[in-house]
C-alpha cells in the first residue's frame, strides 16, 4: 500500500510539473538565482577568508637586540617567548644572517651595496621574528617583552613602528568581514523571501484544486505529496543548473585566483568541497521550498 501510494504521488508530482511547465520554469529560475547567488557569496566568503588568513600570516613582529647581546641570551629569550600560548613560531635571525639576506635581496642594487661598504661594519642587529595564532595578540606579546627581565637587551620591537599599519589592517579585515556577513544576511533574506513568495504564488494558482482534493477526502500524503515531489524536481533542476555553470566557469576564474591570490584556486576549492556545497544547497532549498509548500497547501486546505 505504501509503495503504491508513493508511486501515485510521484506520478502526480511529475505530471503536475510537466503540465505546468511555465509556472515550474519561473519557480526554477527564481530558485536557481537564489542558490547561485548564495553559492557565489559562499565562495566569495571562502576566498576572502583565505585572503585574510594570508594577510594575517604575513603580519609578524620582530624583536631587535642591542649590539653585543650574547647569542645564548637570545636563545634563552626565544625559549621564553615560545612558552607564550598564542605564539606559533619564533625564528632567530643573527646579525650575519640579516646582513646576508640584505645583500642577497639587493645584489643588483649598487646604491645599497655601496652604502653598506662605506659603513664598514655590520649595521644589522640580531632579531627574533615572532608569529602568533591571532595578530590581535601582538600587543600582549609586546607588553610581555617590555615588562620582562629581558627588556634591557632589547633595542626595539617592530610592532611599535608598524602599529598604525597593523591596526589599520585589522580594521579593514574586520570591516570586510562585517560587510560580507551583512551582505550575506540582507541578500539571503531578500532571495529567501522572493523564492518563498514565488512558490506560494505557484501554489495559489492551484488553490481551488487543493480545496477540492481536501473536500473529496484526500489524506495529507495525497495533499502534500505531489507538491513535495514537484518541489524536489525544482530543487534538483535548480541545483544542477547552478553547479553546472560553476563547474564550467570556475576553472577560468580558478586560474586567475591562483595567479592573484598566491596559490588559492577557487575551482579546486569548489571541486574538493563539492559535497559540502551540495549539502548546503540541498538543505537550504529543501527548507525554503518545503516550508513554503507546506504553509501554502495547509492554508488553502484549511479553507474547506
Amino acid at each position: 500500500m505504501i509503495t503504491a501510494n508513493l508511486n501515485r504521488i510521484i506520478k502526480y508530482g511529475i505530471k503536475n510539473f510537466w503540465r505546468q511547465k511555465f509556472t515550474a520554469l519561473s519557480v526554477i529560475f527564481v530558485l536557481f538565482v537564489t542558490i547561485f547567488s548564495l553559492t557565489a557569496l559562499f565562495l566569495f566568503q571562502q576566498t576572502s577568508d583565505y585572503i585574510i588568513a594570508q594577510i594575517k600570516e604575513r603580519v609578524d613582529i620582530a624583536v631587535f637586540f642591542k649590539k653585543g647581546t650574547e647569542e645564548g641570551k637570545i636563545f634563552e629569550i626565544q625559549n621564553e617567548i615560545k612558552g607564550i600560548p598564542e605564539v606559533t613560531n619564533v625564528e632567530y635571525i643573527s646579525e650575519e644572517k640579516a646582513l646576508e639576506s640584505f645583500k642577497e635581496k639587493h645584489q643588483n642594487d649598487k646604491y645599497y651595496l655601496d652604502a653598506l661598504e662605506e659603513l664598514g661594519d655590520n649595521p644589522f642587529l640580531a632579531s627574533l621574528n615572532i608569529k602568533a595564532q591571532n595578530p590581535a595578540k601582538y600587543p600582549q606579546i609586546t607588553n610581555f617583552l617590555n615588562k620582562s627581565e629581558f627588556k634591557d637587551y632589547i633595542e626595539k620591537i617592530s610592532y611599535f613602528e608598524n602599529k598604525a599599519i597593523i591596526e589599520k589592517l585589522f580594521r579593514i579585515i574586520s570591516n570586510v568581514r562585517n560587510f560580507i556577513i551583512i551582505t550575506f544576511v540582507i541578500f539571503g533574506v531578500l532571495v529567501v523571501l522572493i523564492t518563498f513568495n514565488t512558490v506560494r504564488l505557484s501554489i495559489f494558482a492551484k488553490k481551488e484544486e487543493i480545496k477540492t482534493m481536501h473536500l473529496v477526502g484526500a489524506s495529507d500524503i495525497f495533499l502534500f505529496g505531489p507538491f513535495i515531489v514537484e518541489g524536489l524536481i525544482y530543487i534538483l533542476l535548480s541545483i544542477l543548473a547552478c553547479d553546472l555553470i560553476f563547474f564550467f566557469t570556475l576553472p577560468y576564474l580558478g586560474s586567475k585566483t591562483q595567479e592573484w591570490l598566491s596559490g588559492f584556486n577557487i575551482f579546486n576549492y569548489f571541486r574538493t568541497n563539492i559535497f559540502l556545497i551540495l549539502t548546503l544547497q540541498f538543505v537550504f532549498s529543501i527548507l525554503i521550498i518545503f516550508s513554503s509548500i507546506i504553509l501554502a497547501v495547509k492554508k488553502y486546505s484549511k479553507e474547506v
Binding site: 503504491a4 501510494n5 484544486e209 480545496k211 477540492t212 481536501h214 473529496v216 477526502g217 484526500a218 489524506s219
Partner: protein, 229 residues
Amino acid sequence: MIEFKNVSKIYFSGGKPFYALKNVSFKIKKNEFVSIIGKSGAGKTTIVKLIIGQEKPDEGEILFQGVNINNLDSKILQNLRRKIGVVHQDYKLLPTKTVKENVEYIMEIIGATQEEIERDVPQVLEIVNLENKMNSFPSELSGGEKQRLAIARALIHQPDLIIADEPSGNLDIYNTLEIIEIFKRIHSLGKTIILLTHNKDVVDNLKKRVITLDGGRIISDDLEGKYIL
C-alpha cells in the same frame, strides 16, 4: 445514517446575520432515497456543506452513522468524506487532471489497487458516456460533460452515501432521466441517496421521500412527496 438535530447555520451579509438553516431536524435512514427541494437560497447547499464538514453548524448537531461530525479531528473527517460521494453544483473537478485521472484520484485516495482502478474507472466513465473523453481536461468539456464527470467521480468508489446537489442543472431532459436512472440503480444496490434539486419533473417521477425547505426551515417532509413549491 444521517441525522440533523435542531441544526441552525448563520451567515453574515453586509454585517447582518441571516439564517441559512433554522432549527432543522430530519433523519435519513440507510438505503433511503430522499429529495431535498427548495428555491434558490432555501438552504439546500448549506445542508451538503454541513454533511461533508465543509461548514460547522452554529446550533444543533449532525450525526453520520451515529457519530457527531461537528467536532471531528481532521483525519477522521477526511475518512468520513471518503465514505460520501458528492456531486457539487459547481462540479469541483480537478482542473489539472484528465477525466480519467479525476475519477482515478478518488480510487487512489481510498487505497484501491491498480487492478480495481483499471477495472472500474472505464466502466463508470462508460456509464456516464465519457469513455471517449478519458484524456480530456475539464476545461475541454461542456457543462453537461462536466456534470457527468462529477457524477462518475461521486459514484466510482461506491460510497455509503451519495449526495447530488442539482445534478441535472446542466443536462437536457434525456441526460437528466438517464442520470436519475443511474441514481435509482445505485439506490437499488443498497446505497443512500440525497438529491438536492428544484427540478419538478425529477422529483415527481421519483415518487420517493421529499423534504421541502423554504427560507432555511423545513416546511414539509413527505414519504412519497411531490414538488410543492
